[in-house]
Structure formats: C-alpha cells, structure tokens
Symmetry: C2
Subunit: 378 residues, 2 copies
C-alpha cells in the first residue's frame, strides 16, 4: 500500500473555520494524488475536541457535505492526540475493502479561552484519577521529565536544545506555526516556568490546522511512498497505573510491531517524526523507538545527531513544538513531512538520500501510540 | 463473519459512571462469547458526547485500562447517533486483519442539565447553517413529519401507534429504559407538544447505557449469528442541502448495498431494528428500507403489521423510543436484540422462526446511515 497524495494547511492561529480547514487540506491531498476523486472509496476524518471547542461533532457528515454527491462511507476516529495516525491506521486496514482512501485530520483550537483549552485538552487524560487531582498534561510531562533527569542525568539544557533545533527547523518550513519566528537559546532558557522543570518553550503551542493523505492499494507513480509498517498499541489511561514514567510502553510495543512488519531496524531510519508535545517527549521517543539506548538521548541532542544534517534527523518540519500541534491533524502532518522528504521535495530542509522514514504519534501520556514506517518506492 | 458474543447494561437513568458501564457491557459480551479474552485482537469503542458531557475523551485508552495488559489496538469511532453501528462496520472491515474483535458502545447522558443536553445533542447537526438558526433535532424531525403528513396523509395517530407498540414491546424487555412503565394511547395522545406535530411521546428519551458485541472471522457455535451485509453511507449534514425530507438518501443507499451483499430482499426480513429517535423516523425507515412502499408505512402501523406477531416485527426490544437511546450504545443494542431473536433467546418477545434480521442506525437526520444484515447460522 502507498501514500499517493498529501495535503495540508498552514498551521497557526488561523481565521478559517473547521470545515474550511478540512476542505483545504482534503483538496490539496486529492490534487496532489494521481487518483481522481471519483475513485476514492472511503474517508476517515480525525478530530479531537471539535465537540467541546467548536460544538460540532458528526464530522464525517460535515466531510460528506464537502464532497461531490458520493454517499461515501466516512467515519470519524478519535484517540486524543494520536487521532490522525489512528485514522491512517484504520484507513490502511480498510484498504482490504477499498482501492483508495482519503484520510483528513483537523483541529480548530485558537477560538477557545485558555481555561476552555485546558479543560478540553484535559479530556485526553484520566478524568477521575488524574485530571481531577490537578494532573493536567504539563504536570504529567513534568513528572516524566523529573524522572528522566533523576534516572539518566538529563538536564533542562538538553530540553532547550530540542526546542532550539525544532524552532530552527520550522524556519525552513513555510507552513509551520512558528515559521516567522527567530528563536534563540537565551529566549528558550529564560522563558517562564509552566510546570517545573518545563518552561514555555518545552510546550507545543495551541494551533489550528488540517492535514490529509490519500492512500492506495496500488501505485503508478514514482512520487508514491510505500507504507511498510503500521501499528497501534494502547495503555492504561491513568499514570497511577504505569510501572515506569521514563518510557511509554505503548510506543515500544507499536514500534516493535512496525519494525517487524517493515523488516527493518531503527538503524535503517533516515528521517523520523516524533510526538514532541513537550520537549521531554522527543527524548523519550528516541529511546522508545530504539534510535538510541535508554538514557542516551541527552548525548544525541548535545552532539546534534538529530539535526537535519545529523545521523537521524528528527522533526525536520519543526515538530509539534514549532510546526504546531492542531491535534486531529498532527499525525497526518507527520506523514506529510516524511512523504515530502522521501519524495525529495523538502527544499531547504531536505534530508540527503532519505529512503526510510518513521512517524511516532502519541495520545495522552502514551495511552495510545501509533507508529508508521514509510519507504521511498524506489 | 459472525457475531459470537453480545452484552449490554440496562438502559435508563443509571448511577454507574461511563467506565463502569463500558466494563459491564464489555465483560457481558466476552462472557457470552466462546472466544477467550486473550484471543480478542482489537477493540472499537463508540461514544458520541463523552467529551462535552463527561469531560472524557481518549476513551480507547480508558477501555485499555479495563482490560488485562494486552496493549491492544483500540480506536474510538464517532458518527453521532450512528456511532455504535459505525464501530461495528469498522470492526467488520478489521476482521481482514484480526480473528476476533470486540466492539463496545457507551453513553452517559443523564448527568447533564436539559440545556447542556440540548447543546450536546445539537453537535450532531450542522453548527452553522442549521443549529445556530434554531433547527435543533426535534425541530428537524418535526419538519420531516410535517412533510410526510402533507405528502402521504400520515397522521399523528399513526405516530401514536408507533410509540404505543414500542412502549408495549419494552414491557417485555427487562433491560429497557421504560420496562417498568405502562403507557396508554390516551397518555401518548395527550402528552405536551415538543415541536409540532411531535409531542413528548414521539421523542426517544435521554438514557445512560452500554452495549457490546464480539465478532469473529470463524464460528464454532450454533448460537453464533452470521453477518451477511454491512454498509455505511453519508449525506450532507445540513437539511438545507437535501433534495427531499420524507426519506433519508443515505439509508436507502446503505440498505441497498447491504441487501446486495447479503443476497436478500426486504421481503426476506423476519425481524428489524430501526432508528426511531422520533416516531416519524420509524415510518420513514420502513419506506427507506423497502419494507413497504413510500407512503404506505401508515397503513402498516394501522394494521399492526410491525408488531411482534405481525408480518415484519419492528423494534421488538422497544426501540430507541422505549428501550432507550444511550447514543454510542444504540446501534450495538440493535445488534444485541437481533442476535437474541435469531438465537431464539428473546423469551416473551420472541419472534417465531426468525432467521434473517436487519439493523438500521442513523446519525443526525441521515447524515450517516448504517445497515447490517444478520442471519441465523443454521
């Protein structure tokens, strides 16, 4: 199976409505694909908080309204921040029935107040055991960072380097939320604390945006990218049930399955997109994915091994940190980036000779993890 | 493929939380199935308004917490009031990858105020074109009823007969929301108007509840029920884009596809569950499904042809009207009833010799329609 079309909107604080964002991303992907729209057999739409934030559920019918009169099977999928990749995972399974499938993810977040956003984002966590006790997401990931620091000697300077790399990458991505913004290490270091040890620059932003992907059973174009691995795993929603906090078990399970399906090892990866909702999670992801050993991610970031010219470039589009994190779209934006890189169409941020890429998309604090492996058709 | 296990909770105003309801229905289905829990390969969870009403999204991870440490792929599906059947539709597709799949649907609705419920339910409709103009669901279906009356001479007495039949059926269903309640035609006729011509007894209630189904690629038990047809179609979300209002195009498309897959015609149906969110929709459904010709449903209900002893018994469990409508669970409760009937285990409400059944589950005012055809393994 193949990715035969990709499309997205700019990420950021946008004026467009949720249906308008869907429309843009969806038709960008359809126009990018050699598959005519009439040959799309089904659609999956991913969205996280369109109910509480935009008062709009039943998005599959909204998408139906934006298509010609095709009466297609369309389904909405939601798995918190992993919604986009879960919709793709589901679409890939549905290629057993349909020749071509469109997946579109969207989030409209900037219309909510801070208090509303906090409450809405909290719905990805355990309502009773965690959220009601104040364990909101920055606090969740602050605990992860504290544990990682204690166990491995990781420092806040290491997290600053993650943010710095990703902001620099986003300057090369015209569609990124923070494409316009020069960021210095000084600014990052001196940002206000959100949940110690995390400060503002450790947190991904509130973004609007949409992204879409067309997948097909067959391929007739060199621009198509092969999907060789697709896996989804889940875990307890409450952190109180987890055995350890410096690693996300679901991500380890999903990536192990995806590597096995693709017949590759982490050493084969040329380009990786990971779920850096908070900077600490980029380091945790590197270890969970086996890119480096547990505790070694700090050395990799210090040595610049994950920058565009490094051994394993990570988050070349700026990641969630600087490309932005419109939740329902995020996983598909990762696929957009990896596909663009594997096609050799990434311009200034192109990774030389990228042939194999991976996306790592997380819901909550690892309650869901989805991993995809993509390869140049060659 | 087969339904190998079914389970549900009582529907009604319940004290249990959403996770507790999921747990009950899920383990009831697993215990009903000959498939051991370790052989479940994936889970789909359907839920409509758990975000806005219960502040809990990421339900797939909540479900993961309720299972042994299986790290299963679990995905939440939402298509408004058709969420349950859409999850089943999706699960059936995923039998291409997994041997056995659990589908569980849940809704916790009675914790919200009336105003909150109205707002939450409205999220199934078009936010901008319809809902903001006051076209909430009772108003939507009132328009459908007005058009049906004008076009075919259907009367409010016909709708009263639908409510009366379904309330009577619910007296034979110990798990029904209104199992305890004797309802007379007089009570129905004199109920307060909600949106003319619809009165209180034309509307399905606000219910809590959960239902679950285990489906399997293979069958080793006579109690298993064969799934011979599964189809999902969508339509414009806004009524302003519909060409007619006395019929739901998506339901016609989905049922035509399902009949074709099953190789049957409407004449072969022995037991039918339709989406009577409002009484008028039971009549529309009969016509959309080809059980009778357009305009003839009023004659069928007058002649009692859809009662338990009639030609084509409809909503033997009480339907959404009297069994209840905990949205995410509804489509799976329909499958629960048809499976129970085809197994010959429906007790007092058993339809003699039922061999072929159909479920018809609608999202919004037909923005989504899902139809399944089930047959006795025989």
């Amino acid at each position: 199976m193949y990715v035969t079309g990709i499309g997205r909107t700019k990420f950021g604080t946008l004026t467009e409505s949720m249906p308008e964002l869907i429309y843009q991303a969806m038709y960008n992907a359809i126009n990018d694909s050699p598959i005519p729209i009439e040959e799309i057999g089904a659609v999956y739409v991913s969205n996280f908080i369109g109910g509480p934030s935009e008062k709009q559920l039943h998005l599959n019918s909204v998408v139906s309204s934006l298509l010609p009169e095709l009466r297609l099977p369309i389904i909405r999928v939601e798995t918190a921040c992993a919604s986009g990749s879960s919709a793709l995972y589901q679409g890939i399974i549905a290629l057993s029935r349909f020749e071509n499938i469109l997946i579109v993810g969207v989030e409209k977040m900037t219309g909510s107040t801070s208090a509303e956003s906090s409450q809405n984002l909290g719905m990805a966590g355990d309502r009773t055991a965690d959220q009601m006790q104040g364990l909101i997401f920055p606090a969740h990931y602050a605990l992860v960072a504290q544990q990682h620091m204690k166990k491995y000697g990781t420092t806040h300077e290491d997290l600053e380097l993650v943010a710095f790399k990703n902001h620099n990458n986003s300057r090369l991505n015209p569609l990124a939320h923070f494409n316009h913004k020069d960021v210095t290490l000084e600014m990052i270091k001196n940002a206000p604390v959100i949940a110690s040890p995390l400060n503002l620059f450790d947190c991904s932003p509130i973004s609007d945006g949409a992204a879409a992907v067309v997948i097909s059973k067959n391929s007739n174009s060199d621009r198509d990218v092969k999907v060789t691995g697709s896996a989804l795993a889940t875990d307890h929603i409450s952190l109180s049930h987890r055995k350890e906090h410096t690693s996300l078990e679901a991500a380890k399970v999903a990536s192990t399955q995806a590597y096995e399906l693709a017949g590759i090892t982490p050493k084969d990866l040329d380009i990786v997109e990971v779920h850096d909702c908070f900077t600490i999670n980029e380091l945790v992801a590197m270890e969970d994915l086996g890119i480096c050993n547990p505790g070694e991610s700090k050395n990799w970031i210090r040595e610049g091994r994950t920058s565009i010219k490094g051994d394993v470039p990570i988050n070349t589009d700026g990641g969630l940190k600087a490309d932005g994190h419109p939740i329902g779209a995020t996983g598909l934006a990762q696929v957009f980036e990896v596909t663009t890189q594997l096609r050799g169409e990434a311009g200034e941020r192109q990774v030389d000779g990228a042939e194999i890429g991976l996306t790592h998309n997380i819901g909550g604090v690892g309650g869901t993890a989805v991993v995809h492996i993509l390869e140049r058709r060659g």
